[in-house]
């Protein structure tokens, strides 16, 4: 899926509080998503996935500041500037499908009004245009009777239906980038597949770049083109989905893959777990955040935080793994980073 980069994150950081109480929650994220491609962002709860996305959108809760920059359709936006200044992008170039489908819509306003509200209020299109666009999108996301759906109230929608409405709502302004925040956590199995394949087909059709935030490795493997594994606020590995999922390099990614339950597993096998607990932001020391739980930890890991390195299309932030990769098959660095596109 070649195509120019729709969205690029450069050293995105999120800190809480100020003065001596400052605490960095997200430690410099770099990411790139190609138009029409689906990039999966994977990590345990509290790894900072959602915070990063909120930083990009400028929707951080009170008391948190973001820094770094993003590139959106050739425009460079500094995240340090206050969110109000950046609001122009929101709901035009950049859109969000929030996580919790039930609480995503205003309970007292009809679905139709909420769909068209964004574009109409910001005079991006006339009410009639917006209405037809909304109906068209509703049918696209799988509703056979959009006319009826439009008149319903949110509490009359099921989980799956409101998720579809959420997606349609985000797509009304034809955004260049769509951020989907754990769309399936509240849905049951078969619905998840439908929703995700829906997102992928629309992304390809509208050439929209999609950032899929999730903690479900299986879904990410199946629906995403590229994947970034997040741990304690940093990317520990990224690259093409197949490569990262099937042949993870970073010990954490390896552990994640092992943990994911397999249909093929024998019934008796105990579920493997990653020992220890993800570190809280204030307990991360100088070294690699995964060091305390890493099976292949070395003294070096505890002093120096590893940077993303190793094979260009599948970099990982781990001294041990990168050292092994360097020794095994040195390559010239000139090759184009396929994954980077």
């Amino acid at each position: 899926m070649s195509g120019e980069t729709a969205l690029a994150l450069h050293d995105v950081r999120v800190t809480r509080g100020c003065g001596d109480g400052r605490l960095e929650l997200v430690h410099g994220i770099d990411l790139a998503v190609a138009a029409g491609a689906v990039c999966g962002v994977v990590g345990e709860t509290g790894a900072g996935k959602t915070l990063t996305m909120r930083a990009v959108l400028g929707l951080l809760p009170r008391g948190l500041e973001s820094s770094g920059a993003i590139e959106l359709g050739g425009q460079r936006v500094d995240l340090a500037t206050p969110a109000i200044a950046r609001r122009a992008l929101l709901g035009r170039e950049l859109a969000l499908v929030p996580q919790n489908p039930a609480a995503m819509l205003d309970p007292v306003v009809r679905v139709g009004d909420q769909l068209v509200e964004g574009v109409v209020r910001r005079r991006m299109s006339t009410p009639a245009e917006a209405r037809s666009r909304a109906l068209e999108l509703l049918s696209q996301v799988g509703f056979r009777d959009p006319e009826r759906i439009v008149r319903l109230h949110p509490h009359q929608l099921s989980g799956g239906m409101s998720q579809r409405v959420g997606i349609a709502m985000a797509l009304v302004p034809r955004p260049r980038v769509l951020i989907v925040d754990e769309p399936t956590s509240a849905l049951d199995a078969h619905l998840r597949i439908e929703i995700l394949s829906l997102i992928r087909t629309i992304a390809r059709a509208e050439r929209t770049a999609v950032v899929l935030v999730s903690h479900d490795l299986g879904l990410v493997a199946r629906f995403c083109d590229t994947v970034a594994v997040l741990y304690a606020g940093t990317i520990v590995e990224s690259g093409p989905a197949a490569a990262v999922i099937e042949r993870p390099r970073h010990p954490y990614a390896v552990a994640l893959r092992a943990v994911a339950p397999r249909l093929t597993a024998t019934r008796r096998a105990r579920l493997t777990t990653i020992p220890g607990v993800p570190p809280t932001p204030d307990s991360i020391g100088a070294g690699c955040p995964f060091a305390p739980r890493c099976p292949r930890v070395e003294p070096l890991c505890r002093e120096l935080r590893p940077a993303l390195a190793g094979p260009p299309q599948q970099p990982a932030a781990c001294h041990v793994v990168n050292r092994a990769a360097r020794s095994r098959a040195p390559r010239s660095t000139g090759e184009a980073h396929a994954g980077r596109r």
Partner: protein, 319 residues
């Protein structure tokens, strides 16, 4: 058949259950007001206050003559039989029908209460919005501080000062009575201002609760500014509790009007009620209590219907 018919129309079911509850409340109110008026004495006492040389025998004779001498239970039965046909007997003072007198005075009180509520609620919404939009900044803190002060001011003191200032000293507004809209301004202020802090506090609390919900984030994600988020979404979600709260204040507002009507000589049921109790005009007292209880029930019904209309989730029968 009725049950199925009701099942189909959520509003009808809501209204029916509210009315059923209302009947019970009304019945209780009539019981209390009969017991109350029996305890405070009857016209025979009042009539003989000024009488020279009246002795207790003569008073008892008058009491029997007026029909208040019979045993308690028979009078209770008789009272309910008449009350259910909206007949509260006559006012011994004016001779006219007691309920008629109350209904004649009711519109004046309702007008006053309606104006006061409209003013208080609209002002409360505006102030609450301002203080939520500038949360914990200068505007919010000053509004909350000022309201804490206003809340401390006794309502009768405020009414008296309003009259002193605007009608007696500056002569801009009439001091008493009800001749024309200008005479409505001061009483409305005197009734609305003491209630305002409570409304603002409630509205502000509701708004803050709503602003924490998830859908606010998705609205912001559409690129809409804080003004749109609050005005188009937060207010509509925060209104229903305010409506319910207002309907509950009926008993209090009638109480508040007693003070305002006394000071502004406003011909409402507050004035009427105070005179009736002092003069032991039993019929009028019972009529006032019954009308107030009925208006409480009806207003709460209206409030529930409004809330159900405003918030589609509450279409099912309330707890």
């Amino acid at each position: 058949m009725v049950r199925s018919a009701l099942a189909r129309h959520p509003f009808a079911r809501l209204a029916f259950s509210r009315l059923a509850q209302g009947v019970v409340v009304l019945f209780g109110a009539l019981l209390v007001c009969f017991a109350l008026s029996a305890a405070t004495g009857d016209p025979a006492d009042a009539l003989t206050v000024g009488q020279i040389g009246a002795d207790s025998a003569q008073i008892d004779a008058l009491r029997d003559h007026l029909g208040y001498g019979d045993p308690f239970l028979t009078r209770l039965g008789d009272f309910f039989a008449h009350a259910l046909q909206a007949d509260f007997g006559s006012s011994y003072r004016t001779g006219g029908d007691a309920l008629g007198a109350v209904l004649a005075a009711l519109p004046n009180t309702l007008l006053l209460v309606a104006c006061a509520l409209t003013l208080a609620i609209s002002l409360a919404i505006v102030l609450a919005l301002i203080s939520v939009m500038h949360r914990n900044r200068a505007a919010d803190r000053s509004i909350r501080g000022a309201l804490a002060l206003v809340q401390g001011v006794p309502d009768f003191w405020l009414a008296v000062m309003l009259v002193l200032l605007f009608s007696v000293t500056l002569g801009w507004l009439p001091a008493i009575g009800f001749d024309g809209p200008r005479s409505l301004i001061l009483p409305t202020l005197a009734l609305a201002i003491p209630v305002l802090p409570t409304f603002v506090r409630l509205m502000r609390g509701n708004l803050l609760d709503v602003m924490k919900l998830d859908f606010v984030t998705s609205v912001r994600a559409k690129g809409l500014g804080e003004r749109d988020v609050v005005l188009r979404h937060a207010v509509r979600n925060a209104l229903p509790p305010l409506i319910t709260f207002t309907a509950l204040q009926v008993g209090w507002l009638v109480g508040g009007t007693i003070i305002v009507e006394t000071i502004f000589a406003w011909p409402g049921i507050g004035n009427l009620a105070v005179d009736a109790v002092k003069a032991r005009d039993v019929g009028v007292v019972q009529a006032v209590v019954a009308v107030t209880a009925l208006s409480y029930v009806l207003l709460n019904l209206v409030a529930d219907l409004l809330v159900a209309a405003a918030d589609p989730r509450i279409r099912m029968v309330p707890a």
